[in-house]
């Protein structure tokens, strides 16, 4: 195999590869035989047509299949031969098979940047480990207890905070119904008949609960509230809303007693003590997981602070688009509307770009560490990663494997495994100090 390299700025390398005829012939015969087995040509039984006939009929198809399968392999081999750390194959600009069956390939590839590997052993890291306290256990228990509470009507007193008021109310702006002024406004803001309203400061428009506090049953009260500028419905920000409210009922929440019966309702067969123990264990698992993530982040941050390198724009662009997708889907899952996301486009793109640069740099250094320490991915690890990805995306494993192998994604998956192993290696050789408070809080305290 003859390989000529042409280094370009920005980690781009142009490759010109000449593949010998014997290599191409072997592949050609393999593909042609597959065609021969399938071909149905008049005058011949299926699979019995002579090779010359097959080549004259399906020559173009065979050539394109051979060049497709050989060009990718050849580029990877050429990069290996020239000790080029390949990051991605940007495009294969030419791949042609000559009459003597020799093949010429021109490709543009992205190489990994050259940099001196920083000292990655014995890193001193700091990470916050959240302690699991009894208060955390109680808080979660309260949360689980909440759905089992009951409501009791109150008749002997006026409406108080934390009660559930059964009210009929109507909101107006300048004498016009709120639902007509702002048709898109949430229905509970505009008015309801016999609606349940929790008496807390965050209910409806700020000040609503305070304004109706002290009302007696079947009392009607009118009041005006000024909507703050920060209110999430922009159409009524800064406007005055007149409400007329009639109180029909008062309910108080009665929490279920904390006992074994409640524990059995939350988890069949559990006692209060065993439930608390289970919650404690889960909290501990979650705290350990968060500590592990914090350690990994600290290791990556430390490594990034130890070296600089040029970054291939193509790799950054791919990573940016993947992060952008994640941000958008995460924002949509959190209930952000498309308009809100669009209004923050610049900010989102900037954030994604910065994260992408860091992630790409971190990937480069971790891949180099994996190479240095000869950390390889095993086939079983690859299968496990495939299964996990398929389960996460809820698609069949076979389909995922097919898609990935078509788009070169299997190599990305292999890289991800090596990156993860390298990070494990760095952590196993690092000294981690447990912080008693999150890093930002610790930094503020020292300042």
């Amino acid at each position: 195999m003859n390989v000529a390299l042409d280094n370009q700025p920005n980690c781009i390398v142009n490759l010109e590869i000449n593949l010998p005829a014997d290599r191409v012939t072997t592949e050609w015969n393999k593909v042609a035989k597959a065609y021969q087995k399938q071909a149905r040509i008049p005058g011949y039984r299926p699979g019995k047509a002579p090779m010359a006939m097959i080549e004259s009929r399906y020559g173009r198809e065979i050539e394109s299949e051979v060049s497709d399968s050989l060009s990718y392999e050849a580029v990877v081999e050429a990069a290996k031969e020239k000790n080029l750390r390949l990051n991605a194959i940007e495009k294969i600009t030419e791949s042609s098979i000559a009459a003597d069956k020799s093949m010429k390939i021109r490709a543009t590839v992205v190489r990994m940047p050259d940099f001196d590997l920083p000292e990655y052993k014995n890193l001193a890291l700091e990470a916050y480990k959240r302690p699991v306290t009894e208060a955390d256990v109680d808080q979660l228990l309260e949360y689980l207890r909440d759905p089992h509470s009951t409501f009791e009507p109150v008749t002997d007193r006026a409406l108080a905070m934390e009660d559930f008021a059964v009210v009929t109310y109507e909101g107006k702006v300048d004498g016009q119904l709120l639902s007509e002024v702002v048709p898109k406004a949430p229905a509970q803001l505009c008015g309801r008949r016999n609606g349940w309203v929790l008496m807390s400061e965050g209910t409806l428009i700020p000040g609503f609960a305070k304004a109706v506090e002290g009302m007696k049953l079947e009392e009607e009260r009118s009041f005006t509230l000024e909507v703050p500028e920060t209110f999430p419905v922009p159409e009524i920000q800064g406007k005055k809303v007149d409400y007329t409210v009639t109180l029909h009922g008062i309910n108080t929440r009665k929490m279920a007693p904390l006992d074994d019966a409640l524990a059995a309702k939350i988890e069949p067969g559990a006692t209060l003590e065993s439930l608390k123990q289970k919650i404690r264990e889960r909290q501990q698992e979650s705290a350990d997981y968060q500590f592990d993530v914090a350690k990994r982040n600290a290791a990556v941050k430390k490594l990034l602070s130890l070296f600089t390198c040029e970054l291939p724009e193509q790799a950054v662009a791919v990573e940016t688009s993947s992060i952008l997708k994640d941000i958008v889907s995460e924002s949509q899952a959190r209930g952000m509307s498309d308009d809100e996301i669009k209004s923050h486009t610049d900010q989102i793109i900037e954030t994604a770009g910065e994260s992408a640069r860091e992630r790409v740099r971190a990937n480069f250094v971790l891949l180099r560490i994996a190479e240095q320490e000869k950390l390889e991915e095993s086939e079983s690890e690859l299968y496990q990663a495939l299964f996990e990805t398929a389960e996460r995306n809820q698609i069949p494993v076979k389909k995922l494997a097919k898609d990935l192998s078509r788009k070169g994604g299997i190599n990305r998956l292999r890289e991800q495994i090596r990156i993860s192993k390298a990070l494990d290696y760095v952590l196993s050789n690092a000294t981690v100090t447990e912080l008693s408070a999150p890093a930002e809080a610790q930094q503020q305290a020292t300042n």
Partner: protein, 94 residues
């Protein structure tokens, strides 16, 4: 005088014909029933510029064909010519 191209209709490419060409240097053609061996030999020598050693012919009756009707037609009668080339001569007809 008739043209040499009138005496050869097409090359017959079948499994049997391929075997004959590969093993015995014989090539099979479809020719008009009116063509005789001498005309076929001359036509091959002129068109392909190869020396012919022997020509064998066989007449075939066209098959009866009908399409859901009582009356039927038939495919035309045809003639097959198996041409043996002289040693060292070869035809690339695929």
């Amino acid at each position: 005088m008739s043209d040499v191209y009138d005496h050869i209709q097409s090359v017959l490419l079948t499994e049997k014909a391929t075997l004959l060409s590969e093993k015995l240097n014989k090539y099979v053609f479809r020719v008009p029933p009116s063509a005789n061996k001498l005309q076929i030999k001359r036509a091959i020598e002129v068109i392909f510029k190869k020396k012919v050693a022997d020509v064998n012919t066989a007449n075939y009756a066209g098959k009866k064909k009908r399409e859901r009707r009582a009356d039927f037609g038939r495919r035309p009668n045809w003639k097959k010519a198996i041409v043996t080339l002289k040693e060292g001569e070869k035809l690339d007809i695929v």
